[in-house]
């Protein structure tokens, strides 16, 4: 196999931070190379240098033997490099065909060659098994479909080398598997692929070769056959990180009880007669494939949506439809699903984010005026106690990494010893170190007697943390099973919607 791409001793610093430190990387024709590393290890920076978004301080990029000029994405495209960004760069109001052709035509031409473009797009989608409707509007497509459009966009520009930045971060498991199939078939047709990931099992499933980055350096390179997830985890983190384990302990009285609750979101029934009971000192895991009602469940338990019918009670008091402030006052701590969109206001400083949901309480305001001193010292306390790295109370929270933002949100929730915790996808997108920290905090809250509802698409996490599990399918909840009795076959059936109806279990 010939080498199609060679990065030679790439170095790049941002201020005092060295994002890439003499990284050398080679890609062979027809292989899938995984770039593995924690958040902030320098993966995305390296690929942005390859693609010309950044200019390297040192080092060279060679594609098919020729040096690429630095800082020129157009040159990279012309040399046959295509990039699929983590956050898609599609225009939602245009059709798939328009998006694919956009920028590939000269600016000044009387007629656009749409017929040719369409034929070419259809041929590509046929050849690589990436089915899309060329006339569909992008805004109406699912995330998986959008990703296909992004890939087709790169292929349309004759990409021979495809870079995918965290391609599975936004995909549900079946979609991810399908993507890997597609990537395999692409390599059989001579394409070479680099994909960036911090998920070990994916890397093991999809890549031929794995390069591990840590702190901006390449620390190891392994072929798929000669390594294991355990070794990769250790290489990636530097030392062995183990997720904390749940200890058996006695479970208390029922705390949060839902009885036959129905919720409508956008006037569609999204939760249909769900019932559950979360006890003090218990973590109740809600597992399932995304899009099965998790959003509605999260909204209900966060106080953003009100139940249409049924009862939601906390220690016997009705709390359905109370609204976020009242729920927080009742002792419900909420970790939102999308920490950037729902959890924080990025433009506001850390201290204001730290108290936003309790701003109206006497502790943080009096007579309508914010008690700035109290709020600031509260934030400083959260930063210290929950190890929010790089944060000061005054700084805009947007500047923190995802893991540190999550630690702050977690701190905001846990600082007041909540009776109930709603943890919605609490570790999505976090690296191993941050995941372990979040898990440890949730388990500590469990020890302290909180009732936790853990909504997670990460099965390993849900099984590891939860005392009991329920599956959410099509807006309905299965009967609970104890974590001890949950083998993967049974969980698989539950997530597929196969379970015994009430009366038998529980």
């Amino acid at each position: 196999m010939s080498t199609v791409l060679r990065l030679e001793r790439i170095t790049k610093s941002f201020g005092s931070v060295t994002a890439n430190d003499h990284v050398t990387l080679e890609l062979k024709e027809g292989e899938i190379l995984a770039l593995l590393g924690e958040n902030g290890a320098g993966k995305t920076t390296l690929m942005n240098i390859l693609f010309g978004h950044y200019a390297a301080d040192e080092g060279t990029v060679k594609v098919f033997g020729k040096s690429l000029p630095s800082g020129r994405p157009r040159a990279a495209i012309r040399a046959g490099v295509g990039m699929v960004h983590q956050h898609f760069t599609l225009a939602g109001n245009l059709s798939v065909l328009d998006n694919v052709m956009l920028g590939s035509e000269p600016l000044f031409r009387v007629r656009s060659r749409r017929a040719e473009g369409r034929a070419r797009l259809l041929a590509l989608s046929e050849r690589f098994g990436l089915s899309v409707d060329p006339d569909a509007r992008v805004s109406g497509l699912s995330v998986g479909e959008r990703q296909r459009v992004e890939i087709l966009k790169a292929l349309y520009r004759d990409a021979r080398i495809l870079i995918l930045d965290e391609p599975t971060a936004v995909l549900a498991r079946p979609e991810a598997l399908r993507l890997f199939d597609t990537l395999q078939s692409m390599t059989r047709q001579g394409l070479s692929i680099i994909f960036i990931s911090h998920k070990l099992n994916e890397v093991m499933a999809a890549a031929n070769r794995i390069a591990v980055l840590r702190g901006g350096r390449k620390v190891a390179e392994r072929t798929n056959a000669e390594t294991s997830p355990e070794e990769l985890a250790e290489l990636m983190v530097g030392s062995r990180v183990t997720r904390p384990k749940r200890e058996a302990h006695a479970i208390g009285a029922p705390r949060l009880v839902a009885e036959d609750v129905t919720v409508h979101l956008d006037s569609k029934p999204s939760l249909k007669g769900v019932s559950f009971t979360a006890h003090a000192g218990e973590i109740l895991g809600i597992i399932g494939v995304s899009g099965n009602g998790q959003v509605a469940l999260g909204s209900l338990l966060s106080g953003v949506a009100a139940p249409e019918t049924g009862r939601l009670t906390l220690e016997g008091r009705e709390i359905g439809g109370l609204g976020p402030r009242a729920l927080v006052a009742e002792g419900v701590g909420r970790i939102p699903e999308d920490r950037h969109a729902e959890g924080i206001v990025g433009e506001l400083p850390v201290w204001e984010n730290g108290v936003l949901e309790r701003l109206a309480t006497p502790r943080f305001s009096s007579h309508g005026f914010v008690r700035r001193g109290a709020a600031r010292s509260h934030a400083a306390g959260l930063i210290k106690r929950f190890d929010v790295r790089g944060a000061t109370p005054e700084m805009r929270i947007r500047l923190l990494s995802g893991g540190n933002i999550q630690k702050l949100i977690l701190g905001r929730v846990l600082a007041v010893a909540p009776k109930v915790i709603i943890a919605n996808q609490p570790t999505r997108g976090l690296d191993e170190g941050a995941i372990a920290a979040v898990h440890a905090e949730l388990l500590r809250a469990r020890e302290a007697g909180a009732a936790t509802i853990l909504i997670s698409e990460d099965l390993e996490e849900a099984v590891g943390l939860s005392d009991r599990l329920q599956a959410i399918v099509g807006g309905r909840l299965s009967q609970p099973v104890a974590a001890g009795e949950a083998d993967s076959r049974r969980l698989g059936l539950m997530m597929a919607g196969v379970w015994e109806e009430p009366g038998n279990a529980d």
């Binding site: 978004h53 950044y54 200019a55 800082g71 966060s302 106080g303 953003v304 609204g323 976020p324 402030r325 009242a326 927080v328 909420r334 939102p336 969109a341 729902e342 959890g343 924080i344 206001v345 990025g346 433009e347 506001l348 204001e352 936003l356 949901e357 701003l359 109206a360 305001s365 309508g368 005026f369 914010v370 700035r372 700084m395 805009r396 500047l399």
Partner: protein, 349 residues
């Protein structure tokens, strides 16, 4: 080359940005003054003299600054919460008309201080109600308030025209289209005798202080900012969007309506359709030059008033049309937007 956001805007840069913008606007306007055949330096000296060269000039300039401070605050309050109130002009006129109507003979016989207090409130209410309409439409139906508030300006000015030709026409104005005047008892007292400067200046300064307190120190101000930057997260944290947006609309519209009311009570006595040389629109420039900071609004209003008042004197002395004032103020908005870009972002190679 790429543009990236600064982690934090240095204090010095934030303060120097408006000055750089003003300098750039003056330099660009100099080209036009040159084209009119006049030495720009001479023109600007005349302008300064016209606005600041004598006691009378200064009081005239400050008289002009009063409504600008209030409309500037109206815009700053709204823009901070990302409520794009472009309707300051309409709110100004409706506030003015309401004060003339109520103040003419509906509340005769009150002690002057009480009457002035009532009329101040009436002006605020008129502006506040006018903006609450577009705010409600945005909340309920997602109607873009830029369009509704902007278009309401024309509707209101035509309505004012209708009223001062009809029911509120001043019969003693010799056919001049002007509304009935405010009762003499409720004219704002002069701040300095024998000038037009009235105690509205103190009201405007007090308003700036109060607005600063509200936006920077209260729960409401913090929630309004949160709702403006990220409505979903604010809602998740329990901020009521309807309450916040309507609250901001009432405050912003109220300030612009107050500007109109005070101008009627303090300067014009009656309402005409030409009483505002664009105070509502200039409020946008004032607020932007101030980077939406209430204290900055006072300074920016003084600058804009200086240009407006000085331009007339400059025109008389040099023959350059006084429309150059509009050019300078408009250019200052554009250069300020560029300056804001460069102070919040940096260029990297």
């Amino acid at each position: 080359m790429r543009i990236e956001r600064r982690a934090r805007v240095p204090w010095s840069l934030a303060v120097s940005a408006p000055f750089a913008a003003i300098a750039a606007a003056l330099a660009l306007s100099a080209v036009l003054i040159l084209a009119a055949g006049v030495n720009p330096l001479l023109a600007y000296v005349e302008m300064l003299r016209g606005a600041l060269g004598s006691r009378l000039a200064v009081t005239e300039m400050l008289t002009r600054a009063v409504p600008l401070v209030l409309t500037g605050l109206a815009v700053a309050v709204a823009f901070r919460a990302r409520l794009w109130n472009i309707g300051g002009e309409g709110q100004f006129y409706l506030g003015a008309l309401a004060v003339a109507w109520v103040g003419h003979d509906l509340i005769s016989g009150l002690p002057p201080a009480a009457g002035i207090a009532v009329l101040t409130f009436v002006g605020m209410m008129a502006g506040a109600l006018l903006l609450s309409g577009p705010a409600y439409l945005r909340l309920r139906f997602g109607v873009d308030e830029v369009v509704t508030t902007l278009l309401m300006n024309f509707v209101v000015i035509l309505f004012v025209g209708l009223m001062i030709e009809g029911p509120l026409r001043d019969p003693l104005a010799f056919g001049w289209p002007q509304s009935v005047p405010v009762d003499g008892a409720y004219h704002l007292p002069d701040l300095i005798p024998n000038t037009r400067l009235h105690i509205g200046l103190l009201i405007a300064l007090a308003a700036a202080g109060i607005v600063w307190l509200i936006v920077a120190r209260t729960v409401f101000g913090t929630e309004a900012r949160a709702a403006g930057f990220n409505a979903r997260a604010a809602e998740f944290a329990g901020v009521s969007l309807p309450r916040t947006i309507i609250g901001v609309a009432l405050l912003s519209g109220g300030l612009a309506g107050l500007a109109g009311g005070i101008e009627v009570m303090g300067v014009t006595r009656g309402v005409t359709t030409t009483m505002s040389p664009g105070f509502g629109y200039a409020g946008i420039v004032v607020a932007m030059l101030a980077a939406l900071h209430p204290a900055g609004v006072v300074a920016a209003a003084v600058f804009v008033a200086t240009i407006f008042v000085g331009a007339d004197a400059m025109s008389r002395a040099t023959g350059v049309p006084s429309f150059i004032a509009d050019v300078i103020v408009a250019l200052a908005l554009l250069t300020m937007l560029v300056a804001l870009l460069f102070s919040t972002y940096r260029i990297r190679r």
